[in-house]
């Protein structure tokens, strides 16, 4: 096969993986019916696997199964992942091509490629910080977790997050705009005229207003800006991100140090430097025989453009030595390790501050509501890579990136915002798509005892408590019968049963008091630090609520037992 053909094959491979990435992302909707886990790209990311396991101090098997083959392939084949598979790399290639970003001349590209190794080491330094894990300590275990900030730089997490927080709303808006404004068709019109289109759209639940609600994410713009910024760096140098910043690239490059896949340059080389100009990674220096092995992403463009046919790709050939690798400064490496540790210390300045049993900092917002199945707070914040899959898949749009609820260390982690949407009783999608098991899988039936928080009625703004009007919408909507009514001065009003309420937030969502509702879910009842079995037992111990109005005539008698004794007494 000629190297030109090989280049075509590589591009096809990139597109194939990119399409698979987009398709799996789009199909990540409740109920999940994808042939492979929708988070497979994230789980295959060795950096995510490494960081999660190092910072949690334990093996996470669902990550290991997928990340190990990729790691193995990198040891043998070098950074083949970066050139052939990585959706971020493909997005950058496409972006650079579309926007005609060609970078500066190779000699003028900034020599910053060591940076990514320092980034990697710095991040590892953060993970090394021993943070006494609160819930473990309460259980008498001496377990600690580190602090992971891998989410800031991991490319797979980054692109998934961009698709989730910015891509989904944009795609939905486009679909809604075209269906509502351009065609003006209603759902029934679609069903009549274009049943196939409707069927094609329904698995991805794209936005015809009759098919899906518009989704909204806070911080979507910020995420998008970062993504655009990464591509725009192509003005300075092609694949700037992959050469200089990507910690995954650094990790794979380091692992591929002794890879078998190498370039061999024959004596036919005329030093025309065409390959030097062609190399996206700037991995070929002035001497083609001494390229940077850890920087090569195996695109083989050099071989394709070589007029003399002097460059060939070989497996295991030792005939040509290559420049050892990027030379790293030991002092700087230690410096980055220390900087990472220091950053973790600074992020954890809350040491000594009061924490709840679930590990929630008592100075953080009382609105720090985590999805059901979430790990205790310390572990959760560390394990979450902020990929946004849980937020994308949440059918009620209730999961949003944290902006301040959990402090700086929890930035971008999922929080339940009941006023945007409730945690639907039947849904367990977030637990099925979390690549690092920061949200552990759970069955919908378990939701009755996965306590996220507790609702409380604000009696001064509640319609029923503060006026003589009738409103018990929260009671109507409660999925777990955790709200019942009391009669106070002859009026019905809602009360919450704290030992039954799991904090799903549907009461807050339906509350007609604008704008913020008169019933609020707070993180007070958060019981993540307990095992599911313990939570289940607590739920079983809770007494079933008794309605004060039961059996009364007239208003409120709606709940009266045995009211339907004889069906037709009036006749």
């Amino acid at each position: 096969m000629t190297y030109r053909r090989l280049r075509g094959l590589r591009r096809a491979c990139q597109l194939l993986f990119f399409t698979a990435f987009v398709a799996l992302f789009a199909l990540a909707v409740y109920p999940i019916r994808t042939p492979v886990p929708p988070d497979i790209f994230l789980r295959s990311d060795p950096l995510i696997a490494l960081s999660t396991m190092v910072s949690l101090r334990r093996i996470v098997l669902p990550l290991l199964w997928f990340a190990l083959p990729v790691a193995g392939a990198s040891i043998v084949l070098g950074r083949v992942f970066c050139g052939w598979v990585c959706p971020m790399g493909t997005a950058i290639d496409i972006g650079e091509r579309v926007a005609h970003l060609r970078g500066r001349r190779p000699s003028q590209a900034p020599p910053w490629r060591r940076l990514k190794f320092y980034v990697l080491v710095g991040l590892l330094g953060m993970m090394a910080l021993p943070v006494a894990h609160r819930s473990a300590r309460e259980l008498g275990l001496s377990q600690s977790v580190g602090l992971s900030a891998i989410y800031v730089m991991d490319p797979i997490a980054l692109i998934t997050r961009t698709f989730a927080l910015a891509g989904t709303p944009a795609a939905q808006w486009l679909a809604r705009y075209s269906s509502d404004t351009v065609t003006g068709w209603t759902y029934a019109d679609f069903a009549d005229r274009h049943p196939l289109l409707l069927r094609a759209l329904s698995p991805v639940q794209l936005g015809l207003s009759a098919v899906a609600r518009p989704v909204y994410f806070r911080a979507g713009l910020l995420t998008f800006a970062v993504f655009v910024g990464i591509i725009a760096l192509g003005r300075v140098a092609r694949r700037f991100w992959c050469r200089n910043l990507c910690p995954l690239g650094a990790l794979l490059g380091a692992m591929g140090k002794w890879s078998a896949l190498r370039l061999a340059v024959s004596d036919r080389c005329t030093r025309c430097l065409r390959c030097v100009n062609e190399c996206k990674m700037g991995a070929i220096t002035e001497n083609p025989k001494a390229y940077l092995g850890a920087e090569c992403i195996q695109c083989h463009a050099c071989a394709a453009v070589c007029a003399e046919g002097a460059i060939s790709v070989t497996l295991g050939s030792r005939q040509v030595g290559r420049e050892t690798e990027v030379r790293l400064d030991r002092r700087r490496l230690l410096g980055s390790l220390g900087a990472g540790l220091a950053a973790a210390v600074l992020l954890k300045v809350d040491w000594g501050a009061k924490r709840s049993a679930a590990g929630v900092l008592k100075v953080s917002s009382s609105r720090l509501l985590r999805p059901p199945g979430a790990l205790a707070e310390d572990e959760f914040v560390t394990a979450c890579v902020r990929c946004g899959e849980c937020m994308k898949v949440c059918p009620t749009n209730a999961l949003q990136p944290a902006v301040g609820e959990g402090g700086l260390e929890a930035l971008g982690t999922p929080v339940l915002v009941p006023r945007i949407g409730p945690c639907a009783q039947q849904c367990n999608a977030c637990g099925q798509v979390c690549p690092t098991r920061a949200i552990e899988p759970f069955r919908p039936e378990e939701k009755a005892h996965l306590f996220m928080g507790t609702a409380a009625v604000n009696r001064s703004t509640c319609i029923a408590w503060s006026s003589d009007r009738t409103c018990l919408v929260c009671d109507e909507a409660c999925s777990y019968n955790a709200i019942s009514q009391v009669v106070e001065n002859g009026r019905q009003a809602p009360v919450v049963h704290e030992d039954i309420c799991v904090g799903c937030g549907i009461c807050e969502w339906v509350c007609p008091v604008e704008p913020l509702g008169a019933i609020h879910v707070g993180s007070a009842g958060d019981r993540r630090h307990l095992s599911r079995e313990e939570q289940r037992r607590l739920r079983e111990m809770a007494a079933e609520p008794v309605d004060q109005t039961a059996g009364e005539a007239g208003r409120g008698g709606g709940r009266a037992e045995g009211a339907a004794g004889s069906p037709y007494p009036g006749l």
Partner: protein, 308 residues
């Protein structure tokens, strides 16, 4: 004062009503069996079908009202509004029986309807779960309907409630306003804030902002006001299985009645529905208010119950 105006109007209506009722009664006795006489006298009819399979209950009830052809003409667009408000299974009786909805759709199609839309605006989330869990999407789609949730404000249009007391205006489903025929297919349940939810209460699922109704001077009055403007052409009350406790969402105690009641007077059907729970219609606030607005009859003595 509105109260004065009220009394006067009420007096005239009652006088007329009593006169007509007396006339009808006499005529009815004379004809011995005379529904037609009762109808002629303006006495609303509620057809009650019992002890059959759900689909057959619907067919029997509609047939007794003169068949679906009386309501749906060839080429009509029909909006069917069941209760698809909650993510609950059909057997939990929090949503309309899917077989009942499917049969209504089939009858409309058989009568020549061009398009039958089955729509609701659910309280619960998310729509996909509700549509599939209630069984209504599958059943009604198979019967030939387009089933959807109106979950976007873009699908609503402002309507002025001219005679409204608590409710002056509200945003109503555009598909309802444009439909030639509007069929309300509620399920009978207890309800924590309105005692019962029957046909009138089910109409709350045709507006965008229900919260405004709760925030209004009186929820009961708002429900009554709405009927002065938006009147179903036909009400088919599903009481195949009714929910007795923890309404409207349940889960709670249920009871199998194997019954479907139907009629054109929304209030009369609801008045009959109340008796299924051992309630007098006047006990139900919104029915009493609607009666005061003069949009129908709740006095069971003035309603013809036709058992089939």
């Amino acid at each position: 004062m509105s109260r004065d105006e009220y009394t006067r109007r009420d007096f005239i209506r009652r006088a007329l009503g009593l006169g007509l009722a007396a006339y009808g009664l006499g005529k009815g006795l004379k004809l011995a069996g005379g529904e037609s006489a009762a109808e002629a006298a303006g006495k609303p009819t509620v057809v009650v079908a019992r002890n059959r399979k759900p689909a057959e209950l619907v067919r029997a009830a509609v047939d007794a009202l003169g068949g679906m052809g009386k309501f749906v003409k060839r080429g009509n667009t029909v909006l069917v509004k069941p209760n698809i408000g909650w993510a609950r299974k059909p057997e939990q009786a929090a949503t309309t029986n899917p077989e009942v909805v499917a049969e209504v759709v089939r009858l409309c199609k058989a009568a020549g309807a061009r398009q039958v839309k089955v729509m609701d605006h659910a309280v619960d989330r998310p729509d996909q779960v509700i549509l599939s869990m209630t069984g209504i999407q599958a059943a009604a789609t198979a019967a030939g309907a387009a089933v959807s949730m109106a979950s976007s404000p873009a699908l609503y249009e402002r309507v002025n409630i001219k005679r409204g007391k608590a409710l002056k205006q509200t945003d109503v489903m555009r598909d309802l306003l444009r439909a030639d025929v509007f069929i309300n297919v509620p399920i009978a349940k207890v309800h924590s804030s309105t005692v019962l939810t029957l046909g009138l209460k089910n109409l709350m699922g045709t507006v965008w902002d229900r919260g405004a109704w709760h925030g209004s001077a009186s929820l009961d009055q708002a429900i009554a006001d709405y009927l002065t403007e938006i009147k179903p052409d036909l009400v088919i009350l599903d009481a195949v299985r009714i929910l007795l406790t923890n309404g409207p969402k349940g889960p709670g105690r249920t009871k199998d009645l194997s019954l479907v009641a139907a009629g054109t007077d929304s209030l009369a059907v609801d008045a009959y529905g109340a008796t299924l729970f051992g309630k007098r219609p006047e006990e139900i606030g919104h029915l009493a208010r609607a009666r005061e607005m003069g949009v129908g009859e709740i006095d069971l003595r003035r309603i013809t119950i036709k058992n089939v």
